[in-house]
Each structure stands twice: as C-alpha cells, then as structure tokens.
C-alpha cells in the first residue's frame, strides 16, 4: 500500500512546478511524510485485518446465534474501561475512523505550524523566495505536495473502509454508531483533511508565528469536525433514525423466518430448526446526495481558503 502511495503522489504534482521545487518540499518535510505513510500503512493493515481474519470469530457467532446471541454477546463479553481498547470487533471496527479523524487534525496542525508559520517565523520562507522561486510558486508546491499525499492516503483508506463496511457492517451493534460511520465515509472523508490543509495554510500565513498558528489551526479544524458531525447536509450524529437493517433466521429447509429469540440457547434453536442467521444493513437512498453535498461544501471552503491564502501572500510579499 505504501509503495503505491509513494509512486503516485509525486506524479500528481510534477506539472506546474519544476521538479527541483517538489523535491525540495519532499526533503524538507520528509519526517512528516514518513509519519503519514506509516499512518496510512498501519490503518490500511488494520482495515484489511478487520475485513479478513479479524472478523471470523464474530461472523461465526452471528451465523450461529443471530444478532442478539451473537453480535451483542461478542461485543459485550470483552468490555473494558476504554471501549476502543476492548478488542471487541464492534469497537475495533470504529478505530480506523478515529485514526483518520486524528490524522485529519494532524494535517491541519502540520499545515498551520511546520509547513507555513514556522518557515515565516524563522525566515526560511524568505530564503526560498530569494532563490529562483516566486512566493506564489513556493506556496503552490507547499500545498500541492501534501495535498497529493493526503488525497492518495485517505482515498485509499476510504476505499478499504467502504469495502469493510459492505463485508462486515452486519457485525455492528445497531445505534448511532453505524449510521454515523456510514454517512461519514466517502469523498467527504478525503475532502475534510484537504480543508484542514487549506485552513492551516491560511492561518499560518495570517499569523506567521508557529505556536499561535498551531492553536488556531487546531481550533479551526475542530469547527470543521463539529460542523461535519452535527449539521445538515452533513451526516447528523443525533436525533436521526438508525439505519434500516434486515435480519433472518434460516431453517434447514432454507426458509427465512424471523429471529425466534433463543439468544444462545442451542436447544431452543434446534427446536425452531434454525441452522444459521443472516443480517445486513440496507443502503440508504440519501447517502449520495448527502455525501456529494458535504464534499461540495468542504471543497468550496477549501477553494476559498486557498484563494485567501494566495491573496494574503500577494499582499505581504512582493509580486508573485
């Protein structure tokens, strides 16, 4: 996975800037890029494990005992103090989402701090501008290189996550969790860190000092995150109906009956002649309208932030 990320990213940004500028940006921020690649590799590994071997035990439970005796039992049997370390499949399922959210925050902080403000504060940006590179080209490279990594990385993770969802979302406990995850995964997952990158850059250029820029970027991305979570057209974490799901028990003749409510009682299951259970979440018809609208809003805000950043740079420094 990380190999494809490496190969794809530079190719996406080679056109406008000279190769040397792109190479310089890669070299300057190589630590951050390695951390990003490590994050993508780890999260992709986790997603693949959840799609494959990680789901086996819980999937077998669902097949034998259905939602109540299988999924619920598997989720609660291992509960600990912190849900995300419990090791239960239902909790592990959401961990990549948490990681992607944290990484998006990190992108915004990186853009505000090390990418822009630290360079302006220490004067190294001015060093670059007095080589044969105009401030506008410098900013273009500074935005394009991380943006390529962000798009390729989160894009890959989102695809894997969607794959995981279609394979094993039936192993999740019903509630706001599945709904919120379902509506947040898509093009908007890629657009959100891009907006973080743009906002961080804008704040870095406006504030020009590392620590305040870090604080403001974090706050700005917190607003984006909160807004994504709670407002139409975004997913709506609260006061929303659960996703519709369909569960069946299947008898030895192949007939689909409703769950007899045996829980883990094998004798009861045998009495109802149930051999296995199935369960699935039904796709929601307003997924794409919401996703596209959300993505559109996020990308429009990104464009505005980038335009403001270039405008600010032009006003500050001499002609681009």
């Amino acid at each position: 996975m990380s190999a494809t990320t490496l190969a794809k990213a530079p190719a996406a940004v080679e056109r406008p800037a000279p190769r040397g500028l792109v190479r310089s940006v890669l070299r300057l921020h190589r630590t951050a890029l390695w951390i990003w690649l490590a994050f993508v590799a780890f999260t992709a590994g986790l997603l693949l494990w959840l799609t494959g071997p990680g789901a086996d035990a819980t999937a077998r439970q669902l097949e034998r005992f259905g939602y109540g005796g299988g999924v619920m039992e598997a989720a609660y049997s291992t509960d600990t103090l912190f849900y995300f370390t419990s090791g239960a499949y239902n909790d592990l399922f959401y961990d990549p989402d948490t990681l992607i959210t944290l990484a998006s925050f990190a992108v915004a902080l990186f853009a505000g701090g090390p990418l822009i403000a630290r360079e302006l504060e220490s004067g190294t940006a001015q060093l670059a501008w007095t080589q044969s590179v105009s401030p506008a080209r410098w900013l273009t490279a500074k935005l394009a290189v991380p943006a390529a990594f962000v798009v390729v990385g989160t894009g890959l993770l989102t695809l894997l996550y969607r794959q995981l969802w279609s394979a094993h979302s039936n192993l999740l406990i019903a509630g706001i969790g599945p709904r919120s995850l379902y509506f947040s995964l898509g093009p908007a997952t890629v657009a959100a860190p891009l907006l973080g990158l743009a906002l961080g850059t804008l704040i870095g250029l406006a504030v020009r000092r590392t620590l305040p820029a870090l604080a403001f970027s974090g706050f700005a991305y917190f607003l984006v995150h909160a807004f994504r979570g709670n407002h139409w057209p975004f997913q709506g974490r609260y006061q929303q109906p659960d996703l519709s799901s369909r569960s069946h028990a299947i008898t030895s003749t192949g007939a689909e009956i409703s769950d007899p409510g045996c829980y883990t009682d094998k004798a009861c299951l045998a009495g109802h002649d149930v051999v296995r259970f199935t369960r699935e979440y039904l796709p929601s018809s307003d997924y794409w309208p919401r996703q596209l609208l959300e993505t559109g809003v996020l990308l429009a805000l990104t464009a505005v932030a980038v335009a403001l950043a270039f405008g600010l740079l032009r006003r500050r420094a001499a002609t681009g």
Binding site: P18, R19, G20, L21, R23, S24, R27, L28, T31, S122, G123, T124, Q126, L127, A128, W129, T130, Q131, S132, V133, S134, R315, R316, A317, A318, T319, G320
Partner: protein
Amino acid sequence: MSSISTTPAVALEASGLAKRYGRRPAALDDCSFRLPTGRISALVGPNGAGKSTLLALAAGLLRPTSGTVTVLGGAPGAARDRIAYLAQNKPLYPQLTIAETLRMGAELNPARWDAACAARVVEQGDLDPKSRIRGLSGGQRTRVALALALGKRPELMLLDEPMADLDPLARHEMMGTLMADAAEHGTTVLMSSHIVAELADACDHLLLLGGGRVRLGGGIDDLLAAHTLVTGRGTPADLAPHTVIESRTAGRGLTALIRRDGLVGEGWATEEPSLEELLLAHLRAPEAPALLTPGTTATTAAVTA
C-alpha cells in the same frame, strides 16, 4: 524574464520609496537613490534607519507602501533568479545537512547554480558537508548561507550584516572570498554593516541612511573628496560659504567637518577626513543636508512600472 539581456547600467534604483509597518513611524520615507552596476556599496546607518527594510524591499520580500524600486532593470520579483539575499539572522533549514542545503540551492536555481563555487566556500571553513545545520555555530551558518548566495552566481548581492557573527579571521577570509568573487564576475554588492574598518577596505560606494532617507550617497572617494576636515581658531560662522556638517571645540580652536563650497579661507588647517570621521560626523548630525553624487541620484524619468 529573458527579455532583459543587456546589462543595465543601474543595478538598483529607488524612487520615493516608503515603507510603513502599521502605525509606527515609517522605516523608509521618500527614499531615492541609484546604485550603478559593479559597485561594492556599503549601506550604513544607525539602528532602525531602515537598512534591513531597504534590502528586503530590493529582494522582493516586502511590498513598498509607496514609491518604486527597480532591480536589474525590472520589478524586484522579476529578478529573483539574478539576485542573492542574505538576511540578518541567516535563516537556513535546521533539519538539513550542509550538502542537502546546497542541493536545495541547485534545485531551486536550476538555471544558474555553480556547485563548485558553493562547495569551495564550504570547504574553506573546514565544514563537513554531512553535518546538520542545526549543529553549526553562528559563524559556520553564515558561511553556508554565503555559499548558498554565491553558488547562485548572482548579478546583485544584497547582504544584511553579512559578517556580524564571524570571528576576525573568518571575517577577513570570507570578505576576501566575497570580494574576489564579486571582482571576478562584476557582481554588484550592497551590504549593510556597522564595522567601518571592514567597509573601508572592501567597499567603493556608500549609502548612508538616516530618518528613512539616503543622507549620503556616492563613490567613497568622491564623498571623501567633497568633505574637508578643518581645524583652526574661529567660530562655525567663519566657515560661512561652506556647509558645516559638524563642529566641535577642541582646545582653543575648532574642528569641523565641512562640505566645501570653493576654497577654504586663510587660517584653517585642512585635511581629507577618513571614512570613519565622515560617517561619525554625519551620524552625529542627522539634520545635515543630504548629498548624493550625480551617479547615485535617482533619475525622475525612470519612475515607471
């Protein structure tokens, strides 16, 4: 960018240049001068006179509040590839090694980079190319910054206190490197400094800034020749036709630095001032009228763009 191929006779020209930071008094105010190509010019002035602001404006790092500055025949931003700028704090990327810093210079200046020249400057300081910038001393950092500036083969070098944190030996050595390079390639240099001895040896041109304007500008020899240090019995009023820059009673007589207008009268002993005397007198007398030699006076016709 490629259209200006003939060497312009003027490297740097400012016309009515002003820069204000917020509500503070202007750092530069109606500053006009002209720096011919090929000169090694010293930019002198008290602290806060606007030296760094002028250099940053010429490097295209700041936008003037009003007025224009023309660099190598064009706007400052258009000549980025042909100027080198060394900021006062010598910023470099601390996480890179010296070799990587120079490679960055090559990558960001693909058309002009002279790797051998840059490597030579670093070698002279006995620096290991593999050591990180983070671990270098101030003086070593200055050397790397200067290597980056010289490796670019600039036509105009803008140096903000280039030698301030070097030990005397290294300063002498680096000044030698800089001057040899400038002489060999006909580079124009404008450098700010407080060290008058360093300027007297290296520079042939002077710009004295005060109150945001150029108070004294021209070839050092011309400026020195225009002034006379007189000693004798009398009062400043006795020196009437001449412009008295500064006068002091010394013993029973008077010592004064004057700008001659005709011959000096009887009874005054005259001598040519040293550069230091000239500078100190002007720094102590901020209200003295400005003097720019014809070659350094800005042409009003050039105020376009």
